[in-house]
Symmetry: D3
Subunit: 144 residues, 6 copies
């Protein structure tokens, strides 16, 4: 199989960046799987949070806080995050919220209805992102 992106990263594994853990180079390739997405996300978040910019760090904390249960439950809030990501056409954000909605027990039929609202609101321009969202969902349903 193609060594790809992470092979390059491994060749760099003895290097220490200016702050935090070893750096993944070649960051523009979109991740092929949920686990690659999670690995890159986790690495880069560490680097960003270790960089010491207080505004950025507080934003990340706020972004986490925002989905905690309140008047609305976390499942509903994650569905709000998913449809927002879909109409704004951000593949990585869609992947993240598909994962979180799945963890919160969103059913296949509920996913399809979230997708249908995003499609009607956002138009055919959303379709390529819907295809990738659907493939992520298939990937999750196949996982052991």
């Amino acid at each position: 199989m193609a060594p790809s992106y992470w092979a390059t990263v491994n060749q760099l594994s003895n290097h220490q960046p200016t702050a935090g853990p070893p750096v993944r180079r070649s960051a523009h390739a979109m991740p092929d799987s949920v686990s690659e997405f999670n690995a890159f996300r986790s690495r880069m978040n560490d680097i960003i949070l270790n960089a010491g910019n207080l505004t950025i760090n507080r934003f990340f904390a706020l972004d986490h806080r925002c989905y905690e249960p309140g008047a609305l439950g976390t499942k509903t809030k994650e569905m709000l995050g998913l449809v927002s990501s879909l109409v704004l056409r951000c593949d990585d954000c869609v992947t993240y919220h598909v994962l979180r909605c799945h963890e919160e027990g969103t059913t296949r039929e509920e996913f399809l209805e979230i997708f249908s609202v995003g499609l009607v609101v956002g138009g055919s321009i959303v379709i390529p992102h819907l295809r990738r969202a659907m493939a992520r969902l298939e990937e999750l349903d196949l996982a052991p």
Copy 2:
């Protein structure tokens, strides 16, 4: 002084457009109240639907169908429509879904949490729309 939007409309009230009910001219002024929004929306929808373009008419039907209850209830779907409108920064769409969510029994605390997700996802660029959404909500809460 320049005659305003509705003054102009009143002067035109005997006119019949090419299709459907009397036309509201000068449609670019943003509506000052929910009732003006509803009046303009209803008028123009009639004109558009009477114009006879099958693709447009089917889209409008689909847009209506999309929020009917299924695996998710109408209230949840309207909340999805509201947060999508907020992150896409469409004031008229926000007004419409604020109205619909209000009719479906969304509480003040639930509205604020929907707004908070839209704000964190969409950033400070959403704030002017949040102000107008909040003003719409105040207007609805004051209505008899």
Copy 3:
């Protein structure tokens, strides 16, 4: 009552701004009619072009040049401009290209088909702009 936009402008009509013709203040009110749109557009373009920024002036020249006939005729190019403005949801740009398409002989049925493509590509978020585009079209068809 609060003096409106154009009342304020009239009160300022003896004033000379730093560059070019008299300034329209209070420019945030959306224009109520095509003639108001054209007046504000023409005034502000004069002020901008007289301000002496070469990059901006060249951009305006390029924007004009772009719709001149070539392999595609001006009518087709204006239709491309209109659908782009619709999916990007810019009311003033839609007004301008509705005017230009109308001058180039675009028929009501052709306008509706341009709108239908914009609606399907851009989704229900386009509908408020479609309503205003349709009202502009009604206004043009009523003009003597």
Copy 4:
């Protein structure tokens, strides 16, 4: 004639909303002047911040903090905020950052160069917002 926005507001001036100061209704009309913009902005911010949603309140605090001087000075950061608002085509955000940049001593020539970057990056779709930004600048330069 149709009562305007602020006339309606004045009629409501004895009313107390659910939280905070008197509410401006009819919030969808775009403000005609910088002072109207500031009045509406200030009122609605009070209502929003008094509503008690911690995520929203923290976001507003972060939005304020973000422009404080650090490695970059406030003037530069406000210029970054202005060009971002211009390419995202948010008139109210543009108004706010034009005001702030003006307070920080940005010159007419510097404003024009910020506008030129926003215009080239964002394209002709930015032009209507550039016209309104320029009118705001004229308004500020005329103020006593």
Copy 5:
């Protein structure tokens, strides 16, 4: 040649997903060629359409119907779809409409003029998508 994406897919080819044909995993990698784009598009459309959400299925039908000849011919409508995709910066949508315009007989000079409108309307932010559109066009012109 790089085994890549589709090698992974082939390893999965004995698997049956919950609904419809075999699933392509790893759906986030952008396709390297028009034929890979078409294969992924076709597979995922099958999965989506077999999932049984009526709103989504009707939207797909409407999206197809929208480009059928009417007052405007299919070639003109596909050009409208292409410029919309370009200003909305959706690479997959651009690929699809470049293919369809090519099938409808759009010439190299016509493509360049569509691109020029999209570039002027959408600004320099469109350039990376223009590069990829141009590479697609080169690929099609080289095909036997």
Copy 6:
């Protein structure tokens, strides 16, 4: 290492496209490194500029001119370009302006503050692009 994208290109290296230098096929794969980004950018720019569309060529010239020093220095203008690219969520544009800012002597702390403005203005939807911008920065800091 993965043969990938450019291996395919090399196999095509004896071919001459309709205009200009040898064509890179498979243009949709996002570049894995800054040097790949630069190579693809340079190749496609040659093809585009050799295609002979005067509007496109003038736009490219204007895009270059826009960042030349004037009332604001080039470093400040490149920072404006970077934050615009970030809030518009264009990875290739972000890569380009990160490179240019780096050449103009932007420090790590200044980059983080530009990112913080883009993050607060554009919201959490910007985070995936911020991760990739940060990875580009790490890549540049590691270069000999």
